[in-house]
């Protein structure tokens, strides 16, 4: 694993499932702690999984580019496409654009049918390059 999940993500039960095309796929098991309306996944938990997958994708790309950076969220917009059922939910992020300061990331979540997303998100993340990494690069 080239990235570390946040304490929040670990507490909610998010784990890395596998890699798809070189990008990490994360999984959120369906447990009582993520339930919203009875029998469905809470929108906040879905959002948490989407954001975590977005960060995982960005960490992976930064790693490949040899960059170390502190990440700070700028914003996230989540679209809920269908009610999530009581089953594991998967998510993958793709970095649409990585600049020096800002990364724009698209994220998709699905359940049993990979081709039927239950939610999507677009995120902007601020990257603050670690000064020691800058020195090493310079």
């Amino acid at each position: 694993m080239t990235f570390e999940l946040t304490p929040y993500a670990r507490a909610m039960g998010i784990a890395q499932a596998h890699f798809d095309d070189g990008l990490p796929v994360l999984v959120l098991p369906f447990e009582q702690i993520v339930v919203g309306r009875p029998g469905t996944l809470h929108g906040g938990a879905t959002s948490g999984l989407l954001e975590t997958a977005g960060y995982a994708a960005l960490r992976t790309e930064l790693d490949r580019a040899g960059r170390l950076a502190r990440l700070k969220p700028i914003n996230v917009t989540v679209q809920f496409l269908s009610a999530a059922r009581p089953e594991p939910t998967y998510a993958i992020g793709r970095v649409t654009r990585m600049g020096r300061r800002n990364a724009n990331i698209d994220v998709e979540a699905w359940q049993h049918d990979r081709h039927r997303p239950i939610a999507t998100a677009v995120m902007n993340v601020l990257m603050i390059d670690d000064s020691s990494a800058d020195d090493a690069a310079g």
Binding site: P7, V35, G43, E51, V78, A83
Partner: protein, 152 residues
């Protein structure tokens, strides 16, 4: 003439509904607490907790639980505005993180439902960690009636 209907909040017992909804599932796990409400708004609190932080090195609440807080407060503001509990689903939610919350601080989220139509409800709100004049996040979202229901 403005044909928008108005609703009494009498039909929806906010404190009782909050106690039920916040006691279980994801909201219960996060420990969300009811704070206050008005004719078209709800305020909830997300207490600080060590396992909800976003970075191992900093004692700051992660962004994920703040989205959950704002989603719950959004739903409650819609029910309060309608004066009734109806099945609704979040269509979209945008969160702008204007600054990180302070280490060890709870986050308070207040959301206002500023418009309800037959099929959609629109909300906006903000989150702060002690001073409402210095927010940590702003949100905007849209909810839809589900299960064949109509709003209001």
């Amino acid at each position: 003439m403005d044909e928008r209907p108005t609703f009494a909040a009498d039909g929806f017992d906010v404190a009782r509904a909050a106690a039920l909804m916040l006691a279980q599932g994801h909201a219960g796990w996060l420990g969300l607490r009811y704070h206050a409400h008005g004719p078209d708004w709800a305020e909830l609190e997300l207490p600080w907790r060590a396992d909800l932080i976003g970075e191992d090195a900093r004692q700051v609440l992660a962004s994920g639980p703040i989205v959950s807080l704002m989603d719950m407060a959004s739903g409650m503001s819609v029910w309060i505005k309608m004066g009734a509990f109806k099945a609704i689903a979040t269509l979209d939610l945008r969160v702008d993180y204007v600054r990180p919350a302070r280490p060890g601080h709870a986050v308070i989220g207040r959301v206002e439902c500023y418009r309800v139509t037959r099929s959609a409800a629109f909300v906006r709100g903000m989150a702060h960690d002690g001073d409402p004049g210095d927010p940590v996040a702003h949100v905007a979202g849209c909810f839809m009636a589900i299960m064949g229901m109509r709003l209001p």
